[in-house]
């Protein structure tokens, strides 16, 4: 039976198991939206296309499924760009569908035409302009395959209006034939042998865990490995929820705002085992003094990540669900040797413990003003273990990473690679759409919140009970901190002069709002906010010039931290 392009697309989405999508209609996707009405697909209408992409991104981050977003051509499509770049940097599996002007008009500067394949080429894993309806089913199949395998990433399908209307016989291929795309999944066994040897020879090992661990759900294998070799574990922002913060071997986050002990451990280690992490400059600090005495094993599914920023002694290309069991098996083959090795690294663990006691993750609480860190600690106490935390970007994001204890995988959704302000609220929306029953909380700054605050409307319309914690310092706090430390306190354009009444803003959208201005009100407001049904803003007037510490100044080595 013949079907139109838009029917084919929707059919393919269902065959891929897509249940919920996020989008925004317009002229070049009007046919698609018309046919959407006849499908069981749940569509969430955001108030901005950027938010639709962030929501789909977070839906994918929270569930592990491929996120799907739709936008119309031209301005709708260009509005998706920040969302796509955010997903690309954090390797989220996504398929973005944009409408395009009819094929005969392409290239003519037609109304609402933008070259999306050209614009998104460097920020997608792959992209397609569909030029014949007969190719559509194959392209969708490929798009989902590419998005979700190897190192995941966003794939864009630009779908001209005439292709949506044209019809052809529908046939969905079972398999994908892509001779140029064969990611290495299974690691080379000889590399695993060598990795095991290096681990058994190390006396000061550290596991350095990145977003790859979160994306491939290897929290259990990671725990087995860490406990087997009794190595301290530090995670990146993206790896955060893959290893429980409260575990005795946990060092928390490393890097620019990492813990003292994580940065000291990495700097003094003799073996760094990088698992699905990419040695980002925010993690390494000055390369020349990064882990100077360590041998480095780098496990990654993406060969381009390996040796890009730092020297690597042993590259292992493959996916963690295949690498970790292989490694564990080799290490446990000879329990006596392993026991001896673990015993021989006891001095190292003692040293790490000393560092932990020397400079624990802390802050000075006061009676007069609310400390932002205190709000996060209290929030952590009052929320369920499986609560999903999203953040915007800035100081609040770092405090969330430092002071909230994560123990369940995929519960910390934050824009790590691109650092996109405005991510957190639509991300919370997407995560709540995936898990209507779980607590979902956006930890926000007053600046970031205003980048996508229109999504309050979406939350209310779809009854998504997201809770929003605004740490209001009336500043673009993170930039202000840099200005304070490195620009003689010249606060150029970082003071948000106009105080916003966030409570009234919430009410204007039909949501609830509560405010705390004194430390003793914090717990009450949190309890009240968390218990109130529906979307809620909890605003905390926090100490305005609090800094995120420790801090490794840009260009300094990891062990050159500003501690107070």
């Amino acid at each position: 039976m013949k079907k139109t392009g838009s029917q084919i697309l929707l059919e393919c989405l269902q065959l891929e198991g897509v249940e919920t999508i996020f989008g925004y209609p317009g002229g070049t996707v009007i046919n698609l939206y018309d046919d959407l009405m006849d499908t069981p697909i749940n569509h969430i209408l955001t108030r901005h296309e950027q938010a639709a992409v962030h929501a789909a991104d977070a839906y994918a981050r929270a569930t592990g499924k491929v996120g799907v977003a739709i936008a119309t051509s031209g301005p709708g499509a260009t509005n998706t760009v920040t969302g796509i770049a955010t997903a690309y940097m954090d390797s989220t599996p996504m398929v973005i569908i944009t409408g395009q002007v009819p094929t005969p008009l392409i290239g003519n500067d037609a109304f609402q035409e933008a070259d999306m394949v050209g614009i998104t080429r460097p920020i997608t894993k792959h992209n397609y302009l569909v030029r014949d309806v007969k190719d559509l089913a194959r392209i969708v199949k490929q798009a989902f395959h590419i998005a979700s395998t190897g190192r995941p990433g966003p794939v864009l399908i630009d779908l001209p209006k005439d292709i949506q209307v044209a019809s052809t016989t529908f046939f969905y291929p079972d398999t994908v034939e892509l001779r140029g795309y064969k990611p290495t999944i299974i690691p080379n066994p000889r590399q695993l042998d060598k990795a095991a040897e290096m681990i058994l020879a190390a006396r000061k090992p550290v596991l350095y865990v990145g977003g790859g661990a979160t994306l491939s759900d290897v929290d259990k294998e990671l725990m087995i490995l860490a406990e087997a070799i009794q190595a301290p574990v530090t995670t990146t922002l993206m790896g955060m929820s893959s290893f429980p913060s409260r575990h005795p071997l946990s060092l928390g986050m490393l890097g620019m705002h990492g813990t003292f002990y994580a940065n000291m451990a990495v700097t003094n280690s003799d073996l760094l085992i990088a698992l699905g992490a990419r040695f980002d400059d925010r993690v390494t600090g000055k390369i020349a003094t990064f882990a100077p005495n360590a041998k480095i094993i780098h496990v990654d599914v993406d060969p381009t990540s390996i040796k890009k920023n730092v020297r690597v002694d042993l590259p292992v290309v493959g996916v963690l669900p295949k690498v970790l069991p292989g490694l564990i098996e080799r290490l446990q083959k000879d329990p006596e040797t392993l026991e001896r090795v673990v015993a021989s690294s006891q001095a190292w663990r003692n040293q790490v413990q000393e560092w932990k006691e020397q400079h624990p993750m802390t802050y000075k609480n006061t009676k007069a003003t609310i400390k932002p860190q205190y709000v996060i600690e209290k929030l952590c106490e009052l929320t369920a273990d499986d609560a999903i935390i999203t953040t915007e970007v800035g100081q609040h994001q770092m405090w969330a990473a430092q002071f909230y204890d994560f123990s369940v995988p995929r519960t910390f959704l934050t824009s790590g690679g691109l650092g996109t302000m405005g991510f957190g609220l639509p991300a919370a929306l997407g995560a709540q759409a995936a898990f209507p029953k779980r607590q979902v909380i956006d930890i926000s700054g007053d600046g970031s919140f205003q980048m996508n605050s229109q999504e309050l409307a979406t939350l209310v319309q779809y009854r998504l009970p997201v809770k929003i914690v605004i740490l209001n310092n009336n500043f673009l706090g993170m930039v202000r901190q840099w200005q304070q430390l490195f620009f003689d306190k010249r606060y150029s354009q970082t003071c948000m002069e106009l105080p916003i009444d966030f409570i009234k803003l919430a009410q204007a959208y039909g949501a609830e709002g509560f405010r705390a201005t004194k430390p003793e009100e914090v717990e009450k407001v949190l309890r009240q906010g968390l218990e109130t049904p529906g979307p809620v803003i909890m605003e905390f007037k926090v100490a305005r010039e609090e800094n995120v510490l420790p801090m490794v100044p840009a260009g300094a080595g990891l062990n050159e931290m500003v501690l107070s």
Partner: protein, 165 residues
């Protein structure tokens, strides 16, 4: 250091900007680039001359391999290969210089492809260094225009690069 890379790509719409965009976006050099279909017409072959140290070359090959439309990347750094480039050169020619130009054409086994009372157009094929040398000899006569194809390379020996390799 100079490197020559051959890339087998899907002969599809929009592949060239994926490759060239990768080079510009990541700050890699392209000294020359040539592209045309292969025996298997679903595949095109690009030849790129680039430069950089080992670390950069490793990134270039890995990043190219990461492109979905790239089927194979052949780095000729450690392999023997034959390299040829073609140039077409338009030279001013007057009564005094005509004979000298023809002598140079002869020495370089080049061909005259167009003649007018005031110019010669010649075609030459060879290693880029041979073309450079010929251009230098012709320069005193008055070079009017040069078009170079950029080098293409073929590995030595019986082994052929096809997509199955």
């Amino acid at each position: 250091m100079r490197h020559v890379i051959s890339i087998l790509v899907e002969n599809e719409f929009g592949v060239l900007p994926r490759v060239s965009g990768l080079f510009s976006g990541r700050g890699f050099n392209i000294e020359s680039l040539s592209v045309a279909p292969t025996l298997d017409e679903t595949i095109s072959r690009m030849t790129i001359v680039t430069s950089g140290d080992d670390r950069i070359l490793e990134q270039i090959t890995k990043q190219l391999n990461k492109l979905i439309d790239v089927i194979k990347v052949i780095d000729f750094t450690d392999q023997p290969f034959v390299e040829r480039e073609m140039a077409m050169i338009k030279i001013s020619a007057d009564m005094q210089s005509r004979a000298e130009i023809l002598r140079i054409v002869d020495i370089f086994r080049a061909n005259v492809v167009d003649v007018t009372p005031r110019s010669y157009s010649v075609e030459v094929t060879g290693a880029p260094s041979k073309i450079d040398a010929m251009i230098e000899l012709l320069r005193p006569m008055g070079l009017k225009e040069i078009v170079r194809s950029g080098p293409i390379v073929l590995g030595r020996g019986p082994k052929a690069w096809k997509n199955e390799d």
